[in-house]
Subunit: 219 residues, 4 copies
DNA sequence: AATGAATGAGTGTTCATTCAT
DNA sequence: AATGAATGAACACTCATTCAT
């Protein structure tokens, strides 16, 4: 959302830096409890200059939400569209989600905590995007049910269990924690899938299939 | 926890009402974004009178946290100390936790979001209590492993999965949602236990045992 | 200044106690920086009851001023009217003034610091009384000049030197300091009189005359 | 002592103006009884802009104290270190002190009345500086005793007499009073020295020596 | 591209005082 | 004789934002 018509080449770079720094502060202290002055101090900019880059405080929040939702939705749409077993796709989506969470812990804090400070159109768009992500997950779960892999579940509740398990991770994950996204995804999915699966479905080869998928893709 | 030396009979009642109202506002808007003036308005009290009851804004936060943590820890300690199968105790603890979450959704919002605005001793005590609760859960999981019911898990990660699943519920639960605590607990535990259990462990009679336990207790 | 028509026997006693306690607080923290709540706490009274005794905060200040000025003016008038050498009377007045200062250090702090918070008639009366005291001192100095004991001085400046020397004592005196009023009076007067006296005047027997005066009076 | 990192050329000037205006208000009404709003009104600045310059109310008090103590201590150290008769140095110090008092009456009011509202390090530093000044005076008095000019006095009491006489001047001096610092210093010192001196010491030529010193210095 | 200066509403909190009981 | 409850203005201070330069 660059503001005035003409900008030098450094503008966008500096802008992104400022958003990064703001995300860190918001994550640590909360959006409402973080002052513009503080951001300016961390950015090494006087308040006037800061506003040249950010437009408004709420705008920073919008950008941070976008940095989470844009890659998340893009990846989710891509994975959901793959021509693969829905359980495999769920496993891939799980890992992508965890990668995003672990890579941008501070952004996720803000995303989870402070989206309610958005107003008007910003808020509406955000909620729509969140619902879209939820729908993608839920549709995959339904596909898995229809494929016979999962037993007959309340689809919405299954989706919520999936998201509970994943989304709450930001609350305790550390920037350099002992567990990476792949490990967590394996563990989470093992739990969830063993809970969701039909008696007849054998999930034991899932990780093998993930590996093989990655090889195909990487090639 | 009355503040000035003496108080009339209505004091504590009104005080609890105010804390209720504050919890609602904090849950909706966040602690930092909610003004004392707003609370006074909702309470129908001028700011001076408000402070007569609350002492300070942070004190309101403390009270709300206590309303969550005191019953939670009391119940958790009691359940952990029961002379029952650890898996049964986990299931009971799960339901108690969900009952608390669903009964006091706004308090939980504040508990989950705004504990970081506590300072000094208040914060220290809160973190200690949170850790105690986590330890109770983790110890139950270890007991379940030692009893042979659960396979060999990373205890901490299992505890985090348990809490992820439960604690994130506040994010989407509605005050009069379609699912009650018992149903959610059954579902969550079914998923978790099927993920955690040893191949040899048969969880099918768990709900039966829950019912029988309740009858014994209720009698 | 008792308020309602009828009062029990304990009223005035308690009232004086409260004024004492207020004087201590005002002295330590200043009138403006001391709250009514604080006084009530020290007095062991709720605010409502406190007001039953004190009428208003400013009224406390008035009472404290009176406790200084009434005995001071009474004593000063009496001493000035004695049929004695003016230098002796100055020496007696000096000691009386210092006795009052040392006996009621906290009242004097308030008297010196906070009289400017009085308004209207209270302030006018106070200033009048202060001027009366100054006039008594100045008249004694003039008498001493006219008697030939003191050389020709600017009377007002001499009076101000006298009061500078005495009145500033409260700034460093301690409740149980090493010097008593008699000693300080002797020292201050020795300095002042040696500075004010005529070359012909011999002050060496002054303390002797003080002693002899006291014996006559005491008898 | 500018607060934020960078400031324009007018900043320090305006800042000093505001401190001036605050000193006047504090002197008239007392520090505790003067509101920030009032200062802003006098300065013609909204509260936000005011804080841009002052940092905090207590900071204003610190600055005012510094404006008294810095020149006072600098001058006192210089005078104490002169290679002159200690009595002459006392006389010079007396005049310097009175010059400061008369030149900055309102600052002195605040200095004398409101230093107790300073907290923490500010207060500690202030008290240390006050003690340093007292020590300089007392050391000069001891020197004068050792030189034989003064008789054997209690050094601390002599110092307190000296300061009583001088420091209390602010209580009655007027901005355009009839007496200047030189005149008051001559009078005060005449009184004090005639009280302190040895019988053998002749103080009659002191003013002559002051004049000669000033000529030497001025040349 | 950036600054210093300013605003005015808003922050949480304390104040002296009142009054029905 | 004393209380608990209430008020509303004032307190020191911070806020996001603007704008001439």
């Amino acid at each position: 959302m660059p503001r005035p018509p003409g900008h030098g080449p450094g503008y966008e770079i500096k802008r992104q830096e400022i958003i990064d720094q703001a995300a860190q502060l918001f994550a640590k202290q909360g959006y409402a409890a973080t002052g513009i002055a503080e951001i300016g101090q961390v950015a090494g900019l006087a308040k006037g200059a800061l506003y040249y880059y950010i437009g408004s405080k709420e705008n920073l929040l919008v950008e941070i939400q976008n940095r989470v939702l844009n890659p998340l939705l893009t990846a989710a749409r891509r994975i959901a569209g793959l021509d693969e077993d829905p359980v495999l796709r769920l496993r891939l989506l799980s890992q992508t989600l965890l990668e995003l969470i672990l890579a941008r812990l501070d952004h996720i804090w803000v995303y989870e905590h402070d989206y309610r400070h958005l107003r008007g159109a910003n808020r509406t768009r955000l909620l729509r995007q969140r619902r879209e992500f939820e729908k993608i997950v839920q549709d995959l779960l339904v596909e898995a049910m229809e494929s016979g892999a999962f037993r007959k579940l309340n689809a919405r509740l299954a989706m919520l269990q999936f998201l509970n398990m994943h989304n709450h991770t930001y609350q305790w994950a550390k920037p350099d924690g002992e567990w990476d996204a792949e490990f967590l995804s394996r563990e989470y999915c093992a739990t969830l899938i063993s809970g969701f699966r039909s008696p007849s479905y054998d999930a034991d080869d899932l990780e093998e299939r993930v590996r093989s998928f990655r090889e195909r893709e990487g090639a």
